[in-house]
């Protein structure tokens, strides 16, 4: 017998008694189903990663941003970072830009020139999410003013300013809370109008500019390191002091 025949015989001997188990087909199908499940899981996970990669930047782009102060055109960046047209009432800065007899220096311009709106908690978070953020509440809200406010916080150097604004058919109210350890008197806030008069709010010395053709404003030091500025549209000028007395710092 030559080697080839021996090899054939050896192979036949080697596999004698070998028979396939009855569950072979079932096992193969089970493996297939497992493979399909595993591939589906991988596909879902991969799709999740792709979606996350695509969605997170989109979310970052569209999530509510802190609104900035009224700009030179009297416009407010709204929710989602889009710029929305300002209310019918002119903002303090807009009033000034019209060349009216507004205070010598616009609070908006002072506060927001070079102001970096805070986007992240801990570096000046929006809407009072950080523990050190203060918020103004109005105990008195004139008729025709929407009780929903828009607040944002910005900071310039050591000064952090939280601006809240209420608008409505009757006009607008804006409250600025200025936190700065160097504040000693209302004039230190830098919003002092040219024609300021001495007044008193919450028992504190205040500076007031009555509303004429432009907005009315009053400012005082609420407590050490915290100044308050209140501005109202000309339509609400007669209620300036009542609004100011109703300001509560939260």
């Amino acid at each position: 017998m030559d080697l080839e025949d021996e090899l054939r015989q050896a192979m036949a001997d080697h596999v004698t008694g070998v028979s396939a188990p009855g569950t072979l087909a079932h096992e193969a199908r089970r493996r297939h189903q497992r493979t399909v499940r595993r591939r589906a899981t991988i596909a879902v996970a991969a799709a999740g990663v792709v979606v996350a990669i695509a969605v997170i930047p989109t979310y970052q782009a569209i999530r509510p941003q802190p609104v900035s102060a009224p700009g030179p055109e009297g416009r407010h960046p709204g929710i989602g970072g889009t710029t929305t047209a300002g209310s019918a009432a002119p903002s303090p800065s807009a009033a000034r830009s019209n060349g009216s007899t507004a205070p010598s220096e616009s609070p908006s311009a002072k506060t927001h020139a070079g102001t970096r709106p805070s986007r992240h908690p801990g570096t000046g978070s929006p809407r009072g999410t950080a523990p050190d953020v203060v918020k103004a509440l109005l105990a008195y809200l004139p008729d025709g003013i929407d009780p929903h406010d828009t607040c944002h916080t910005g900071e310039t150097g050591a000064r952090r300013t939280t601006t809240c604004r209420w608008t409505g058919p009757a006009g607008w109210i804006e409250v600025r809370l200025v936190r700065d350890d160097s504040l000693k008197g209302p004039g230190d806030m830098g919003f002092t109008p040219a024609s300021a008069q001495h007044a008193e709010v919450h028992g504190h010395a205040a500076l007031r500019a009555a509303a004429g053709a432009t907005f009315g404003q009053v400012m005082w030091i609420e407590r050490s390191g915290l100044g308050v500025w209140v501005g109202v549209s000309p339509t609400l000028g007669t209620r300036l002091m009542r609004v100011a007395e109703g300001v509560q710092v939260d």
Binding site: E6, A10, M11, D13, H14, V15, V18, L24, R29
Partner: protein, 171 residues
């Protein structure tokens, strides 16, 4: 066009499972490995079973998967196998009468061949395939099949000769 269904798969495995398992065992050596290899091959075949024509014989397709799997797996596992083999491989011993268990030695020497050479010998001498069929199954030329078969047989012959000499010297 009609397609193969699950029932035909079960029927095919029931009819040809043992033959395929024997081929798998000759290709990879160990019984457990052979079952795993065959299950993997059948799973791959099952994946495309519905697309196979009902009048076509699925066995060459399954066998081709089996051979390709055994070759690629043997290449991949070569290092692992060497590490895992804690006990020395089972080697045939001379019988009491001093004669060599020729067929056992042949199988052991067959296992020691390279995966492709072993596949050529299994297909040629176990499956009784022609050189052309073997070449088609392995995806190589007829010349390669001829040379691989010749080298495999030569190596077996050489090792058989050494074993015979060793047996003779012990006897």
């Amino acid at each position: 066009m009609a397609r193969r269904d699950d029932e035909s798969f079960v029927e095919f495995v029931a009819q040809r499972g043992t033959a395929l398992l024997r081929t798998a065992q000759l290709l990879c050596g160990a019984r457990t490995d052979a079952e795993d290899l065959l299950q993997t091959a059948l799973e791959k075949a099952y994946r495309h079973w519905g697309r196979m024509r009902p009048d076509a014989d699925p066995e060459p397709y399954v066998r081709k998967i089996l051979v390709n799997l055994s070759v690629s797996r043997a290449r991949r596992w070569r290092v692992l196998r060497e590490v895992q083999m804690a006990a020395p491989p089972e080697t045939p011993t001379a019988s009491e009468a001093g004669t060599v268990e020729l067929r056992g030695v042949l199988i052991e020497e067959l296992k020691r061949l390279g995966p492709r050479q072993r596949a050529v010998l299994v297909l040629r001498y176990w499956e009784d395939m022609s050189e052309a069929e073997t070449a088609a199954m392995l995806g190589c030329s007829v010349g390669t099949v001829k040379s691989q078969a010749a080298r495999g047989l030569a190596r077996l012959r050489e090792r058989m000769g050494k074993s015979a000499q060793a047996a003779a010297s012990r006897g």
